[in-house]
């Protein structure tokens, strides 16, 4: 099972909640849209997904 962090930029309203409570500091908001911080070591814990008010960030599970 492959797991990836997906950001739906169209739905993101840039509130910053996901970034503020990410245990790894793996997200940042730039010009009102969230982005991944490369190399910050996202652990795919899903806390951002649980708290995003706009369903704009989530972990996607796929085969292989």
């Amino acid at each position: 099972m492959k797991r990836d962090l997906i950001i739906n930029t169209e739905w993101c309203k840039g509130c910053g909640i996901c970034a503020a409570f990410c245990p790894k500091g793996a997200l940042k908001v730039v010009e009102e849209k969230v982005q991944k911080v490369e190399g910050a070591g996202c652990v795919l814990c899903g806390m951002c997904e649980q708290r995003c008010p706009d369903y704009a960030i989530y972990i996607k599970e796929s085969e292989e």
Binding site: W11, I17, Q50, C52, P53
Partner: protein, 286 residues
């Protein structure tokens, strides 16, 4: 799309929740950036999944206010009603069709001011509704007037010098009126919130979950509470689990939001009692 009908895990992927429970064509929702209502809506969808209720036999009823938009986003039988009357409409639905799962999504103003009367009587009768209160401590949709849950001395557009009223505690109010299940939740603790709402759905009889939401746009701005992130952090630092609260003094609990199930007890459910009465009267006429 994978069939998730039999999935019993506690967290469902957001993409799955959206495709299974929501009406994605209506998303992104209308709520402001950082509004807590979206988090509560997700928790409701998660709770519906966990409680394994059939969406075709579920009715979601809302009133008026920011909270009322919720009914439009979940794909089940929906009823967007008049201000304060969500519980009254829901009572009618439950009486006509007791087999349906009836969930009310309301706000602090909708449920405890305009609809306060309906709330206490539904609680008193123990009718099988699940009421989720998106409590943002203000009237958001109409521009920030103070509501019955605006804390003492805080501000609203109609309380420019500070609110002299004492606030309602909606969960306590419902328990005082006889609610057999009452709980409090907070959007910061979103996973726990979903579990709490699930318990409310499973409960037979009247259940209410009073949820501390976030309204950065009006309540936050009027009261200098900072951004949505600051308001979330406030919840993080000031929520106490009900079990822990029992070991704390009144002084220690001052200003804290106690979350979890506050009451869960059994009592005869109203629509069932009514059905029994109908049977009895019919039998008597033979």
């Amino acid at each position: 799309m994978v069939d998730m009908t039999n999935v019993s895990k506690n967290t469902m992927n957001t993409a799955d929740i959206i495709y299974k429970y929501m009406r994605p064509e209506h998303l992104p929702h209308i709520w402001c950036p950082g509004c807590g209502n979206g988090i509560i809506l997700r928790a409701i969808a998660q709770a519906m999944e966990n409680a394994k209720i059939d969406r075709n036999k579920t009715v979601l009823v809302s009133g008026i206010g920011c909270s009322s938009r919720a009914a439009g986003y979940i794909d089940c039988n929906s009823l967007h009603t008049t201000h304060g009357r969500a519980i009254a409409f829901a009572t009618g639905i439950k009486m006509a069709h007791p087999e349906l799962e009836v969930i009310v999504i309301t706000g602090d103003g909708d449920s405890s001011a305009i609809g306060g009367n309906h709330l206490i009587h539904a609680a008193r009768r123990n009718i099988g509704l699940t009421v989720v209160v998106m409590n943002n401590n203000i009237y958001g949709m109409t521009g920030g007037q103070y509501s019955p849950t605006t804390p003492h001395l805080e501000y609203g557009t109609t309380a420019p010098y500070g609110n002299i009223d004492q606030p309602f505690d909606i969960a306590e109010l419902a328990m005082g009126a006889g609610a057999t299940f009452a709980a409090r939740g907070a959007v910061y603790h979103s996973a726990l919130l979903a579990k709490t709402i699930e318990k409310g759905i499973r409960h037979k009889g009247f259940s209410i979950i009073d949820v501390a939401s976030l309204c950065p746009t009006y309540y936050g701005r009027k009261n200098k509470k900072g951004s949505a992130v600051d308001m979330m952090r406030y919840q993080k630092d000031n929520t106490v689990m009900v079990e822990k609260a029992k070991t704390m003094t009144e002084e220690e609990l001052n200003g804290k939001i106690v979350i979890g199930v506050l009451r869960d007890k059994e009592a005869p459910e109203y629509s069932e009692e009514y059905a029994k009465l109908v049977e009895k009267v019919k039998g008597g006429n033979k």
